[in-house]
Assembly symmetry: C2
Homo-oligomer: 354 residues x 2
């Protein structure tokens, strides 16, 4: 994967600095505008046909009581997505994102007429407490299917894509991936998920410690992913890698989506050039993931929902970054004065700021 | 001013808690939804005809070198607003806010045909270094004109309104208002505004200290406002008070707009029931203002621009709060299971979360 070509950066920065505002006054929106313009290699970037893809799958580890909810709610929530009743439906509809729902490996047979993208690898992973979550050929299928789907969406003139997930037990999977990739003790990577209590949290840490000890020394990203991942997480890894290769902007959601991004980043560090962290989740551990990647989230709304909701909610702000770059008057275009270059003051029509 | 009637709160909270998501999983959006529903006294609130009003005025204190920019840029930026080239134009257009620009006291005669609301009290305030910024009757005019404008806008079926400002020197005014209302030493209330350097900052603190000492013991909100305020700030105070009386949702922007809100709050503490802090500015001091008011901002994007940009950028998230409350499936409406009340489990169509 190529790093994005940085030659254009100084030109974009010049365009940003000569907008009618004090230097740097649009804060994080300026960084976002710079990133998107650099990905697209243009001073006038555009976001086209934005998509949000939710990958769903079940997890063998859910049988060990690591979640507050039984595995049955994975298909139930998939149906809620399909019928339009979930939070992600509401936010995608509001902000104009095209929502796709993928069965990456749910333990349920959905009716054929439902608008679900069928990429089922199996009826849930094996429990990584006693087994590898998936076989290496299943992982390869996941990566290939994730990539293929992104290519199809990319062909529909989409250049910005967010990824969400649904899968009871997947905060456990994400915690172990984080622990392995970031090389942090598991207790720093485990949180309450959908809301386990103190005892539940203790149990979750104990189960995950047992699993990590069982598998011993595993360090290669693909091996970590096949051993502890989920079908939805692995498909997301493939999807993220392909999105970056297609020079699309990747919207990174919460704890689980970021665990997928951590794996993708371990495989291809340049993926960071193509990604924006949309929201810092309330799930403890997510902040440390973002610190590890050295990226700042756009939002901190104490969400802990997943589904891609952070991406859908942050989208208008990303659009705002593009819009100010394209639409605000510049000192040059308006022939107005500027603190950056006060030699070009035109007293009649100069315009700056309070 | 009445506090909003809290009897409905438990019903709204019940509606929020029975949406198809874990309890509290939408974080700050849940608090916003609860506030708006309580203001509007309905389980199905709506945001109608949103407005953003930018008040502009000049400040006598600007002559003392407290800003990086000369006072001439106040009218220049007003013209930039009128011609659609400023950041606030771009964000209001994107997010569907109706933008109004008010001349509250700019030191300039704008052409009559320009779409500027004429509420000029004078050609800028007097310098509060040696004088009261405005006379008490000028303050009364400001408050009345701010109120009247909000009533006009309210009559157009608007129930959500943000306020922005433009006025070279107005961070100085806002800093002193903050110091007086929050009873904090002036050096904790002064920041770099549009970007003064270390020496400029020292000078700004020294000038403001001199001004505070000159006026001596002033504690009543209206007296603080007339002595140290600006015409745009005072009109904003009147506008905010009227908006709350009309049971509109008030969107609070950055450092200067929040200084107006501090004064309004000192006059009518119940105004907090009607307000949302949209953005925590990078201007040092703003965080302390929000702490004093005990409100959490929606955004922290390191903006330091004013103009109401924080309000316009936060608006889609406020709309998202309303939308999830109105549009998400509930456990009851969908007949699905819920962790809050697991006795009503319907195994066929239950839907919860990962």
């Amino acid at each position: 994967m190529q790093s994005s070509d940085k030659e254009i950066v100084s030109k974009v920065q010049h365009k940003i600095d000569f907008k009618t505002k004090p230097l740097g006054a649009l804060g994080q929106l300026e960084e976002i505008a710079l990133k998107i313009a650099t990905i697209q290699q243009t001073l006038s970037p555009e976001l086209t046909n934005p998509h949000l893809v939710v990958f769903a799958a079940d997890h063998g580890i859910a049988k060990s009581g690591v979640s507050k909810y039984p595995a049955e709610v994975t298909p139930q929530m998939v149906l809620n997505f399909v019928y339009g009743g979930a939070a992600i439906n509401v936010f995608c509809k509001q902000n104009g994102l095209n929502l796709k729902v993928v069965d990456a490996g749910v333990n349920f047979d959905f009716e054929e007429n439902l608008p679900i993208i069928r990429q089922k690898i199996g009826y849930g992973t094996k429990s990584f407490l006693t087994d590898s979550a998936m076989a290496m050929d299943e992982l390869e299928q996941c990566l290939a299917k994730g990539r293929e789907l992104v290519n199809q969406i990319s062909a529909e003139n989409c250049n910005v894509i967010g990824f969400g997930e649904m899968g009871i037990g997947n905060t456990s999977s994400a915690s172990v991936l984080m622990s392995k990739i970031c090389q942090l003790p598991i207790n720093e990577c485990v949180g309450r998920g959908t809301g386990v209590d103190d005892e539940g949290l203790k149990h979750k840490i104990s189960i995950l410690t047992e699993a990590i000890n069982f598998h011993g020394n595993i360090n290669a990203p693909f091996e970590i992913l096949s051993t502890f991942g989920g079908f939805e997480i692995a498909q997301m890894v493939g999807a993220m890698l392909q999105a970056a290769e297609n020079k699309m902007l990747i919207l990174v959601d919460g704890f689980i989506a970021t665990s997928a991004f951590l794996v993708a980043h371990a495989i291809e560090p340049n993926i960071l050039d193509y990604a924006i962290a949309c929201h810092q989740s309330d799930e403890s551990g997510h902040k440390k993931m973002l610190n590890y990647l050295n990226i700042s989230p756009i939002l901190q709304l104490s969400l802990r929902l997943g589904e891609g909701t952070g991406c859908a909610l942050a989208y208008p702000l990303i659009q705002s970054a593009v819009n100010f770059l394209n639409e605000m008057a510049s000192f040059e275009s308006a022939g107005v004065a500027n603190a950056v270059d006060s030699s070009s003051v035109n007293s009649k029509q100069s315009a700056v700021i309070n």
